[in-house]
C-alpha cells in the first residue's frame, strides 16, 4: 500500500525530489496520490525528477518592509506536472514567466523544502 505524502516527505528528507509515474501510461504525477488523475491508473512508481522546470506564473507578496517581500511561483516541471514553489537566489522583482529554473532542497526551519533557483 502506498502512503503518498509520507513517502514523498521521506524522500525529500533524504535529499531526493521524487515524483510518480504510471508504468502503463507513462504519465508523471505530482502531487503524489494513489492513482493517476484522469486515467485512474494505479501502477504508480516513484522516479527521480530531473529538477528542470520553467516558471509558469509569478506573484510577489508585498510586505511593509520591502526586504520581507517574497515571490510565489507555479513551475512547470520538464516531466509535465505543475507545482507551487519559490525562486531563491534571484531578486524578488527579477523572477519572470518563462525563466528556466532548477530544483533545490533547502532547510526551512527544521523541515526540508523544495524550492527552485535560476538555471
Amino acid at each position: 500500500m502506498i502512503h503518498p505524502e509520507a513517502e514523498w516527505r521521506a524522500h525529500l528528507a533524504e535529499g531526493r525530489f521524487m515524483i510518480q509515474r504510471s508504468r502503463s501510461t507513462g504519465g508523471h504525477v505530482f502531487y503524489p496520490r494513489i492513482v493517476e488523475p484522469g486515467t485512474g491508473a494505479d501502477d504508480l512508481e516513484w522516479v527521480e525528477a530531473s529538477g528542470k522546470g520553467v516558471v509558469h506564473a509569478v506573484t510577489v507578496v508585498r510586505k511593509k518592509d520591502p526586504a520581507d517581500s517574497y515571490n510565489v511561483v507555479l513551475v512547470d516541471l520538464a516531466e509535465g506536472p505543475r507545482l507551487m514553489s519559490r525562486i531563491d537566489g534571484a531578486d524578488v522583482d527579477a523572477v519572470r514567466i518563462g525563466m528556466d529554473v532548477a530544483a533545490r532542497i533547502v532547510q526551512e526551519g527544521d523541515k526540508p523544502l523544495l524550492v527552485f533557483v535560476p538555471a
Partner: protein, 383 residues
C-alpha cells in the same frame, strides 16, 4: 441529449428576492441575518414559512448550516443542501432547486445566506484545510492564487494593470448609483494603480470588500409563480463545472470552468452572449470579470482587458456588468454568489432605481468558488 440540454427551461421561476444588512450589521449572528433575508424574500413573494419545503444555504462558519437555519426558522424541509462550492454555491442551488421543483419532489425552495465578518469576526479556525503542497510557500489566501492567474493573463495577452483597474472603477461608478452599496466615494484608475500592492499584480483596490450582508431568493414552478405577488423571473438555464481545488492544479490559468458552464447554460436557455442585457459576474478580484466575460463568450479569449477598457462596463458602456457595484464596491461577506442573483432579479423586474437598465430582458449570473475552482452560470429572463 434532449433539446433542453438537461434543464427544465423556463419551468421554474424566482418569485421573491431580498438583501439585508449590507455593509455593517453588528450585534447579530450570521444565522440571524440569513433568517432576516429569508423572511424579506418570502414577504416579497407573498409567501410564508409554511410554504417552504426545501432549504438551500451556505453558512459562513457552520458546516452543518442547513440544519441550523432549518431549525431556526422552524422548517421541516424535504430537501436541505449546504454544498461546499464556495461563492458559486448559490448558482448551483438554483440549478438543483429547479430540478427538484420540476420533478415534483418539492414545491417551494428557499435559498438564503447571511454573514457579518466585519462586525462579528470569524473564529480562528476556518472551514478549509491548508494545502500541504502550497502553504509552505506562504501564498496569501486567496489573493495570491488569483494574482498568479492574472500574471499569466498579462504575460499571454498583454493585459495591463490599468485594464484591471477599469474593472474596479466601473464597479465603483455603478455603486454610486446604488444607495445600498457599501462604498460609494469616487475612485480613479490612478488611485487603483497607486494603491498598496498586496500580491502582484493585484493591489488592495483590485480586491473585493470583506463586509457584512445577507440575501435570499424564493423559487417555485412557473405555473404557481403566476399567483405570487411579484413578476416571476423564469430560470432559463443553470450549469456548473469544477476544474480543480488549488491554483497549482488549475488546468489552464487563463481559462476557467465558465468556458464549460457558460455555453451549457446558454444552450439550455437558447440564447447567446450577444442576447444578454446584464452580466452579473463574480468580481472577487479585478481579474475575475475579465476571465468570465471571455469564457462566457462576450469577447474572445485574451481580449477581456481591452473589452473592459475606456469605461466599457461602467454606466453608459457597451455592456452592463455588476450594476449593484459588485463584490468590489457593494458587498462581499465571504460567499457573494447570491447577491448576483438578487441584482439580476431587480434589474429584470425593473426596480433598480437610478441604475435601472433601459433594456433588461435577459441576464446572466455567474458565480465563482474557491480559486477559480468552481464555476456556475444561471440565465434569467424578464417573464
Amino acid at each position: 441529449m434532449s433539446m433542453s440540454h438537461g434543464f427544465p427551461r423556463g419551468r421554474t421561476a424566482i418569485v421573491g428576492a431580498a438583501t439585508f444588512g449590507i455593509g455593517r450589521c453588528p450585534g447579530v449572528s450570521a444565522v440571524d441575518m440569513a433568517a432576516r433575508a429569508a423572511m424579506l424574500a418570502l414577504a416579497d413573494a407573498g409567501l410564508s414559512l409554511a410554504d417552504v419545503d426545501a432549504l438551500y444555504t451556505s453558512a459562513p462558519y457552520e458546516a452543518l448550516g442547513g440544519m441550523e437555519l432549518s431549525e431556526y426558522l422552524g422548517l421541516t424541509p424535504k430537501v436541505v443542501d449546504c454544498n461546499r462550492t464556495g461563492g458559486s454555491a448559490f448558482e448551483v442551488y438554483v440549478q438543483q432547486a429547479a430540478l427538484a421543483l420540476e420533478a415534483g419532489l418539492i414545491d417551494c425552495a428557499l435559498i438564503a445566506y447571511g454573514s457579518n465578518p466585519a462586525s462579528n469576526p470569524p473564529p480562528g479556525v476556518g472551514m478549509t484545510r491548508q494545502s500541504p503542497w502550497e502553504a509552505p510557500y506562504r501564498p496569501v489566501a486567496p489573493i495570491s492564487s488569483y494574482a498568479l492567474a492574472a500574471s499569466r493573463h498579462m504575460h499571454l495577452y498583454g493585459t495591463t494593470r490599468a485594464q484591471l483597474a477599469e474593472v474596479a472603477v466601473a464597479a465603483r461608478r455603478w455603486a454610486q448609483l446604488n444607495p445600498e452599496a457599501a462604498v460609494r466615494d469616487p475612485l480613479t484608475i490612478d488611485e487603483v494603480l497607486a494603491a498598496r500592492m498586496v500580491s502582484d499584480p493585484l493591489s488592495v483596490r483590485d480586491c473585493c470588500l470583506f463586509n457584512d450582508g445577507a440575501a435570499a431568493v424564493v423559487m417555485v414552478r412557473a405555473d404557481r409563480a403566476r399567483d405570487c405577488a411579484r413578476r416571476p423571473i423564469p430560470v432559463l438555464g443553470a450549469a456548473h463545472a469544477v476544474t480543480h481545488r488549488e491554483i497549482s492544479s488549475m488546468p489552464d490559468l487563463t481559462v476557467t470552468g465558465a468556458a464549460i458552464s457558460g455555453p451549457q447554460a446558454f444552450a439550455q436557455a437558447g440564447v447567446t452572449a450577444a442576447d444578454i442585457d446584464l452580466a452579473m459576474v463574480y468580481d472577487a478580484f479585478t481579474i475575475t470579470p475579465i476571465l468570465f466575460l471571455e469564457d462566457l463568450g462576450f469577447c474572445p479569449k485574451g481580449e477581456g482587458g481591452r473589452f473592459v477598457a475606456d469605461g466599457a462596463i461602467a454606466p453608459g458602456g457597451r455592456l452592463a456588468v455588476n450594476t449593484n457595484g459588485g463584490g468590489l464596491s457593494c458587498v462581499h461577506p465571504g460567499m457573494y454568489g447570491l447577491f448576483l442573483l438578487v441584482e439580476a432579479v431587480r434589474q429584470l423586474r425593473g426596480e433598480a432605481g437610478e441604475r435601472q437598465l433601459k433594456r433588461a430582458e435577459l441576464a446572466v449570473a455567474h458565480g465563482n468558488g474557491g480559486v477559480l475552482s468552481s464555476e456556475a452560470t444561471v440565465v434569467l429572463a424578464r417573464g
